[in-house]
Symmetry: D2
Subunit: 136 residues, 4 copies
């Protein structure tokens, strides 16, 4: 799983919002995001796009955990429903639904620390075999 942790570690955008990879196993990944005023929208809730960011990453690294370190991964598309206003710290739990040769389909659930189910995502990723997962 070292390639997953290293890839996450290179994501400066995760550092910017303060998110970390809090759990990882084959086909599953969890991204945690402590509450900070800097990540909120106009009403003081966590921004829907920020929720999408951590769900996208939880899905992507769940998928990457099943791939060889020699491969790279790109997000093809994702769809997210915001189910409730996001107050407080969040955790996004991603899992693989179908790992195909080229495409992988994943889902994530996002929860607030009071247990509220905040969002649900369904995502498609494409594996790029023998492609470095680092800057060109």
């Amino acid at each position: 799983m070292q390639h997953v942790r290293e890839s996450f570690g290179r994501q400066k955008a995760m550092t910017l919002i303060g998110a970390s990879l809090s759990a990882l196993e084959a086909g599953r990944a969890e991204v945690s995001l402590p509450y900070r005023p800097e990540i909120t929208q106009q009403k003081g809730y966590v921004h829907g796009g920020i929720i999408g960011m951590i769900a996208d990453n939880a899905c992507g690294y769940a998928a990457y955990s099943l791939m060889p370190a020699s491969a790279s991964l790109v997000t093809v598309e994702y769809k997210i429903n915001i189910l409730a206003p996001a107050r407080g710290s969040l955790v996004a739990k991603g899992e693989v639904i179908k790992a195909g040769r080229t495409l992988t389909v994943t889902r994530a659930e996002v929860y607030a620390d009071d247990g509220t189910h905040v969002a649900s995502m369904q995502q498609t990723l494409m594996m790029l075999a023998n492609t470095p997962d680092t800057p060109e």
Copy 2:
């Protein structure tokens, strides 16, 4: 359009990533995002979740531009396809497809400053009549 600009101005998450509302007319909004290393993913491209954030906002404020200042707006869901790696500064252009009494459907296109079509979003929003668009 003052209520749209004020609402965008209250989004601390936009300040965090460095995005601004660069154009606005009835049913259309544009969000611009200068390139910075802080918003990148593991390969040095702009993070897909960050692309989602500005597209989500371009859509949302396109919708809000057609609503009264007494109303508030929530994102129900969005779906985004990432069409190409995002290098450089970005602009997300949102527009309203259908403005209903309760629900509004929007789309956004995201372009890089070299003209690359980076992403396409389709989104659903719900208007909350007579609801403050400010923290409780």
Copy 3:
């Protein structure tokens, strides 16, 4: 649950493709579709749009099972991933993720009779209170 069964019974499109409501409980519904050459696409698999039809209905009636008979329901949007070619008879299993006052979010999984996981859907519906669920 009588209002759910009656509503499904009025769907002539379900009769056309040969689908039936095979299971129903609060928050869950199952739609079954026997294989017939008439529902196939160019390669002889069940058409992706037909898979979408039964998943859409499994989701919709899962949602309707939690609503009063005086209400009507409209599909706002759905997103479906086709995970594998669909051979043989199918069953779509829908369930409610979040039942809100106005909006309900649901999911469905579609399986073939050999156990293959054929598709995954995520859907949004809107309740119309005190609205007949019958032709005008």
Copy 4:
């Protein structure tokens, strides 16, 4: 474009619902569906899943029009917003947004014959090079 017309012609599901390929050019396809009571849902409108079927096909054949006859095409996923109740005959207009080497992204708009904008779809397809587009 002969391979596109032949592929559509093999789709028995299109015959079942009464749909035809009414226009075709490079990167664009149109599917027409005359109104019939057999394709309706519980309130007498055209079924949302049927709308999805013709939009899925308009998108898919728009994509296939840009591919060689030696290739086959699979739907990866689609997302559709139903914008208005569908009364009367329908036409789905599909077009390619991005034609990649492996993946193609498309959109479709569905209109009723009174001009109502009924639905909007965004879809992802995958090309299978050197694969017959016929039953095994």
